[in-house]
Structure formats: C-alpha cells, structure tokens
Amino acid sequence: MRWTKVLAAGLMGALILGTGPLMGAQESTKVLVTVLRASNEGQDFNLENDAYRDELIKLFSYTSYHQIGQRYAEIPKGDSQTVMLPGDYEMILTYQGEENGRLLLRAIIRKSGQQYVNTVLSSLKTGVVCLGGPPLENGVMIIVLEMGF
C-alpha cells in the first residue's frame, strides 16, 4: 500500500500547484496604448483598428482621425511605465494591483509639469478607455487604453 500513499501525495501536490494560479493575485497587467489625433482638417481616417472607427464617429464630431502611434506595455504590480506622447506629452501608467477581481490602473497625462488628467481606472477583466482632449497640432489627442487583455 506504500505506493498508493506516494501516488496520493503526488496528486495532492499537483492539485495544489494547479490551483495556485486561481488563488493568487495577478502580478502584472497588459495595456495597449493607441494614440490618435482627431481634427477637422480633411476627412481622412487612418485607424488600424476598425472596430473603434464607428464608435469614434458616433462619439465625436471631428472629420479626421489619424493613428499616430501604438504601444504595448506589461506593467508589474506596483510599478510604473512612462509612455512618451507627441507634443511633449507623457503618460504614466501605474498598475496598482487587483481588488475585488478588478484591475486598478492609474493613468496620468502631463506636460511641462502640469497634469492634464490624473485618473484611477478599475477594470473588470478587460476594458477600453478613451482619454482625450489635450490639444495637438490644430486638433486634439485621443489615447485609447485597452486593459487586461
């Protein structure tokens, strides 16, 4: 009967290891940052992700949307990453961890020491947030944050 006990102990260990990821909190999160410039100059659309085109047209009254950059960031818990943006803006993303099953992400957009926005977002699994409004080259900058994918 000794082999059965050894087998049972091994299987219990496997069970504990297998359920580990379910019980532990997420140690990092992934964020896709897409930078757009919206303006009323022309009627061009240059968006790699067509899924948001219709939404942007519905939401805003600009005639032209240009995707000017895209960044992927994996942010460890408690860590920050700075994404340099056009027009001397910078965005600081901080992953604050998980609370009640939701990812907490802090996003700051600043320029020349002034904060254009300072926000904390709580995302359930995946979420999309548009941060917009900072002026950029006769238009405005729109930053699409896709979290937790």
Partner: protein
C-alpha cells in the same frame, strides 16, 4: 395422537438444527469459509478508484486553470507606428513616479459580474480644466471616455 407426535418430533428436530447452527464452532467455521472463498469480494478497491478520481480532477484543473484565470479578448496588434508630426518615443521608459494611491475607492460588486460595467472611473482630476466622464454602452464595444476641456 399421531399428529401431535409428528408435531413434537418436528419441534425437536428444529431445535436440534438451531442449536447446531448457532453453535460457536459452526459460526466460526462459516466466517472462515466466507473469508477463504469470498474474501476478495469484500476488498473493494478504494485506493485505485480514489487515485483515479484525484488524477482526473488534477488534469481538469491543469486544463481549466489558465482558461479561467485569464482569457485573451483579442489579438495583440504589434506596434506598427505610422509617424506623423511629432513621433512617439521608440522605447517605453520606466521612471519613478509618486507612490500609488494607498486606497482606491472601489465599490464591492453587489450585482453579477455580467451586469457590472467593465470599467469604473474611481478617481479623475485635472489641473487644466473641467473633465467629463462618459460611458458609451455599445453592446460589442463598451467604452469609457474621459475628456478634458483645457482652459474651461
């Protein structure tokens, strides 16, 4: 009289049989016989069945754990930057920033997860002007919009 004798004989015979069968030697012999001939039937294979069930559960958990833990919602598009005007810096830089908020106010879910908004703005502020938070509840692409109005 004859009937009564038959009945008495039957009673005596039954009593004799009962005494014989209930004798301790007979009981022991019956138990020994059952153990020797049918002992294996009583040894239900508990350990192999338990081990098999545990192994099946472990395999299921290994298969399902990554799926339950994090399911990718789409394909990650590699950074294919079309530069116009001021470019985005090529490398993501890490800098030390002010410490994270000690306690973000998150309302505990009181409704099923399916009915909760995917994103909740727990805090928003701006040095530059007014801020508007708007939620577009499109079925396929629910979106939260934070718009800054500089100078207003």
């Amino acid at each position: 009289m004859s009937g009564r004798s038959d009945q008495d004989i039957s009673e005596i015979y039954r009593g004799y049989l009962r005494a014989e069968l209930e004798a301790p030697e007979v009981e022991r012999a019956k138990k020994r016989f059952v153990l020797e001939n049918f002992g294996r039937l009583h040894g239900f294979p508990v350990w192999p069945v338990a081990c098999f069930a545990t192994a099946a559960a472990a395999v299921l958990i290994f298969i399902l754990a990554p799926l339950v833990h994090r399911v990718p919602s789409g394909v990650v598009v590699p950074a294919n930057v079309t530069m116009r005007g001021a470019p985005v810096a090529p490398a993501v830089e890490r800098t030390a920033v002010s410490p994270a908020l000690p306690q973000a106010e998150v309302v505990p879910p009181a409704v099923p997860d399916d009915e909760l908004p995917s994103v909740v703005v727990t805090r928003v502020e701006s040095d530059m002007g007014q801020v508007m938070v708007y939620k577009e509840s499109a079925k396929d692409h629910p979106m939260t919009i934070i718009w800054i109005f500089p100078g207003r």
